[in-house]
Amino acid sequence: MIEAVGLTKDYGEKRAVDDLSFAVRPGIVTGFLGPNGSGKSTTMRLILGLDRPTRGDVTVNGKHYRDHQAPLHEVGALLEARSVHTGRSALNHLRALAQTHGIPRRRVDELIDRVGLHDVARKRAGQFSLGMGQRLGIASALLGDPQTLLLDEPVNGLDPEGIHWIRHLLKGLAAEGRTVFVSSHLMSEMALTADHLIVVGRGKLIADTSVDDFVRRASGFVVLVRSPQATRLAELVRGGDDVVVDSPEPGVLEIEGLGTEQIGELAAEHGIVLHELTQRHASLEQAFMDLTRDEVEYKPFDTEEAVA
């Protein structure tokens, strides 16, 4: 269980996290979603006591992270930024961390095998690929068999097999009753792994909702109409309540709030010729982008990049 109340962090003039309140419950995977630069990593650092909040408070399992007697048994963390000495082997890195809690060597060897680093365990971590680095980070997060897991962009740099492995791992850990808090800037990834979503933009809370609700809300559809009499049709449909009409180009309409049947019947009634009448689903990624559009700090020149 992670609880944040009015969490705020300023770095000089810049507010990275702005009055954030949320609770992360055990037994499910909670996704922490937001565009890059929206304060996800800062929030993670505040939870782990690496940074002190300017205002507000955050506790893990009822205590400040700092006050836990054996923090690695409470929380396992994978930060986005590299957190390994490049000159030390994976094995020695994990052993040194394990020693702080009296965790036996056997556990370190076990985890090295589990995350698939057996063959490179004695190589210096500086020579690791991004994917191997992530696996080492996950091994350190699991070292203390913690009740709560905090993972910042865990699938970054992993190959498809690795991504699959992470998804299974996270779901498995949640099914064992643990608290799993995973950040990502990719809605599609969260839709596959998370049960609950906390969405942030520019450090502010935008949504705190179950993934199902988010998907339901997001999966509204628009009807695409192509007609030589588009202007006339637009006038006719605009009469209805909650109908939104957009015309991206002449002769094309995007209509929200009416079904294909209603639009087709309306057109027939008024003798309007239709060249196309298609129902289109809004994607999750689109819904996420719509939700965070005003909160994105660095807008790419080509918004398509953000979708890819």
Binding site: Q69, H73, R82, G87, Q99, G116, H168, L169
Partner: protein, 274 residues
Amino acid sequence: MSAVTPALPTLQRSGRVTQTRVIGSEWTKLVSVRSTRWSLFAAVLLTIGLPLLFAAVTSSHWGSMGAHERADRHPLDIALAGVNVSQLAIAVLGVLTITAEYSTGMIRSTLIAVPRRLPVLWAKSIVYAVVALALMVPSVLVAFAGSQAILSRHHILQIAFSHPGVARSVFGGAVYLMLVGIFALALGAITRNTAGGIAVFAAIFFVIPPLMNILPTSWNNAITPYLPSEAGRQLFSLTQDAHALSPAAGGILFAGYCAVAIAIAAALLVRRDA
């Protein structure tokens, strides 16, 4: 590499973070990095090697040396000639012990494991001090015995270990190097930057002392003995200049500087965002 590995084995909880455990962890960290081993090896080599070289050169040229030059050669200065040089290796490693964690990001892993933070600073200081002392005590003893053996043909360059002040100077050399290591480690923790830490160390130990000569002599004599490098040097100087502190006073003052530096490092470590 199997892709699907569900439920991990559970772990028998083994209690809490203790100072002793953090010391064990810091020991593992210190000895598991190649650059550490090289720096320590360099410190040992310089502490022993330079006196032997110095002794060999002195011995072979003794016949052609003038009275002045001969008077300039003191057997204990020869035996401890390496200390002034190896202090640089010890200082660089002391700074790196902390700053390498910042430059690589390791500090985040360290502070997540030990969020109270101070046990990390204590452990690093203790481990490094013990390692430095454990290596430097035998090094200065070997340097003394070795250089004396090389100079055995020259009666005037022989000095007994039991001669007043000799044992204190030889062991004092090792203690001085240990304190230099702690002082440098504190500078690393304060600056959190390798270049910055080494620069501050160099400024305090190598730049400020000669600058004192610019001052009027009376000021120079009043200030210089209290500089960290000058105070510390008395630990391994057989005789003291007119204005210098006694070995005990100098050693205590230098240790005091180290304590202050560590205290500042501790206060900053607790207060600052990592």
